[in-house]
Amino acid sequence: MSVPTEHLLVLAALLFAIGTLGFLLRRNVIVVLASIELILNAANLTFLAGSRHHSALGELNLHGPIFALFVILVAAAEAAVGLALVIALYRLKQTVRLDAAGELKG
């Protein structure tokens, strides 16, 4: 693949922006969590693009993929805790709408 690094970064930026949009727009907690996963994937793509950009000829730079591996791990932990919170919210309110959970609002 001989795609310039900028194109990978633009793809990552688009995914990040779409994820941000979903995070801000949607009221469903499940979709908000899915948007966060999109944002983390965009970050991973950026790491890989940077790693590829700084690779020597014939040998890939491996620091980017290792960092992306840790990002995937954090995403897995975040999804697990987030979905447990969704279940707790559903128990309390019988809904997964974010505006139903406004008790801490000042």
Binding site: L15, L38, L45, L62, A77
Partner: protein, 202 residues
């Protein structure tokens, strides 16, 4: 050929990402997310990051997606169309659209300004001072792939502290999830929310 495949996959990934945000049904949202993950894994594969492509498929498409679908099925979350959007949230929606677009434009602008030249380009320009300091964007023709042995060596030497911290994080996550999702006995609201447990719990 691989380039064309990249652009097709990128378009599909963006379309799937839009599907995540646009669709009314959370089930379709999560399935679109799965499609986006598959496209990204294919892009990783094209770029030569085989290990990360496999990890992406195993952890994201395998584990996290199943978790999402499990919660949707467990809570029986159907259509979102039954909810009426409150009028006050329309202003917030405009602010959110403006903010998201601004973030998109900012990121595209930052990334399209240009990148630092690679080490190879730097040494080349150092050897030949007369050359222009603005090296052209490197084009990758080599078909390098990642070396799994080297990934493992790095993970257990240079990144060993992060690796151990990750294990602690996973343990903490496990305990937190068990505590959060555990049924609390005698909770009245819970009994109201889960009618089939009445009589069993009380």
């Amino acid at each position: 050929m691989a380039d064309l495949l990249f652009y097709v996959l990128a378009a599909l990934a963006v379309a799937a990402a839009l599907g995540v945000v646009m669709s009314r049904n959370p089930l379709f949202s999560v399935l679109s997310l799965l499609g986006s993950f598959f496209c990204l894994a294919s892009i990783y594969l094209l770029a030569g990051f085989q290990f990360l492509a496999a990890t992406q498929l195993l952890v994201y498409a395998g584990a996290i997606m199943v978790l999402f679908l499990f919660v949707i099925m467990l809570l029986n979350l159907g259509d979102e169309t039954q909810y009426v959007e409150r009028p006050e949230s329309l202003g917030k929606r405009r602010v959110a659209i403006a903010g998201g677009t601004a973030v998109a434009l900012l990121l595209v602008a930052v990334f399209s300004v240009g990148l630092r030249p690679t080490q190879a380009a730097e040494t080349a320009s150092a050897a030949d001072p007369g050359a222009t300091s603005f090296a052209p964007t490197p084009v990758f023709q080599d078909e390098a792939i990642d070396d799994l042995v080297k990934v493992g060596e790095l993970l257990f030497s240079r990144y060993v502290l992060a690796f151990e911290a990750a294990s602690l994080l996973l343990l903490a996550t496990m305990i937190a999830v068990i505590l959060l999702a555990k049924r609390q006995r005698g909770d009245v609201r819970e009994a109201a929310g889960w009618p089939w447990q009445k009589g069993v719990e009380q």
